[in-house]
Symmetry: C2
Subunit: 282 residues, 2 copies
């Protein structure tokens, strides 16, 4: 039986700290404000928007929602995007991705005010992740993984970590964050041969493959901590699930995060931490 | 007996290609120009400056040298730095590092014109390396490693690569470049436990530890390609040498770069390639 590393406990601890910081900022006349920026009605976006709303309420962050119709023109999008990027009352912006195909994501990224990039999508933020300098913010999910490890006292320094996935949203950034904390890190990807042989050697396995239940017990070892970043809808069971086949893996490892209730629960708290930090830098 | 991967052959092939490109640019009225920027009289800097001069001559790149005395004030440095960064006739700048301690390297980095950053020291260039986009240029030595592998037809995609070192000058960038070419990469560093056990599993081993002869045969396997990025002065032998104990490693691996005459010889050619590319973007 593995130790199940629940996200709620971590999120609660972060939110408690943040509520104090937020109150202090407000006393000083600064009102930390996040703007969620959504185009269309994708279910995933709406779910994350709701989670953000709940966390904002808990921490005292003010939330402003921008919702544009899926058929918005590039010109209309650009105008609204410019407005929120220039609005001095907004400290952080969360842009839901992917955008509908007719809209230019690259342009949105390039024209984002880097100071408001609380989910690490601009080049400036990603440069900060790579160089380990406080330039911008890391993608929230990558940082949520680190918060979770820290909260549960899982040692990282000097340990071996394997990350399945190399996306800029999670795989590559979390690999860098782990290395900055002195883990020895390997990023596995679609072109990696014999992934299980590599991941079995790791003390920490971060699964960000984006494929339901692709990680089975043969990827793991009994001393391993498994962090599941995946989130999928299991049609058969009618429930959310992760990259990890929990039923098979959980009995074979030392610690594991559940889905739902694992990393995902921490992500929105990290988002609030970034908004409050951005507001504090103001 | 390993195949010895000499740098000269690679450098010559690159220079031949560059000479043509440079001639074409000149016909179009653009005169690709590199400015080397040196403070003081460090031997390493002067050696690299000379190598750059030779390559510039071979490829047709114009070289301008800035040499400031070691005791230059910050104000004097800043003024000259600003001048070359603003000079429209200069396409690329190579700043020799480290600077004397009384000068602010961070400020130099931050105020560098990213378009002229032909050795990948700005955040903008490093963001490009991390995100695999054509933003700026990779550090020349990291790219020289890739050129060498390409020239000698060493397969990278789907292979395992180990990098010893995680500096921003070479270890981390070369790890990313290898991953972009679909290798599965691990960066070992000072906090990695049992480095030889990890590096022995690699098809490609890049040694950028910065310690003379620290890599011995126990780090390798018989099918391995070993790329030595180190450069040290061996007092005993009165000769340049690398991170790899060549005499011990060479008989035990499939291919290996010598020092001198390996990666180092390719680096200055990559530098010229960057200058010509920067000039072409103009």
């Amino acid at each position: 039986m593995a130790r199940v590393l629940k996200g709620k406990e971590v999120a609660d601890a972060i939110c408690e700290r943040l509520a104090k910081q937020c109150a202090e900022l407000k006393e000083g006349g600064v009102n930390p404000t996040l703007c969620t920026f959504r185009v269309g009605e994708r279910e995933d976006d709406i779910a994350y928007e709701k989670a953000a709303e709940k966390r904002a309420e808990k921490t005292g962050v003010t939330l402003r929602r921008v919702v544009l119709p899926a058929e918005v023109t590039q010109e209309e999008f650009d105008a609204e995007w410019k407005r929120v990027n220039e609005d001095p009352a907004i400290h952080g912006i969360l842009l839901f991705a992917p955008l509908p195909k007719h809209l230019d994501m690259e342009r949105a990224r390039e024209t984002m005010n880097p100071a408001k990039d609380v989910d690490g999508i601009t080049l400036s933020s990603l440069a900060g992740v790579f160089t380990n300098t406080k330039t911008g913010f890391a993608p929230c999910t990558a940082e949520a993984v680190m918060e979770l490890l820290r909260h549960y006292g899982i040692p990282v320094s000097g340990k071996k970590a394997a990350v399945i996935g190399r996306s800029l949203v999670i795989g590559r950034p979390v690999g860098q964050l782990l290395m900055h904390e002195n883990a020895t890190v390997v990023n596995c990807h679609t072109r990696t041969q014999d992934v299980p042989e590599i991941t079995r050697q790791a003390d920490i396995l971060v699964c960000a493959a984006g494929q339901m239940h692709c990680v089975t017990e043969e990827y793991t070892n009994p001393a391993q901590t498994v962090i599941d970043v995946g989130i999928h809808w299991d049609e058969e069971k009618g429930a959310l699930t992760g990259d990890v086949d929990f039923a098979r893996v959980e009995p074979q490892v030392a610690a594991i995060t559940p889905v739902p209730g694992g990393v995902g629960s921490v992500t929105s708290s990290v988002l609030m931490a970034h908004v409050i930090e951005a507001a504090g830098r103001d």
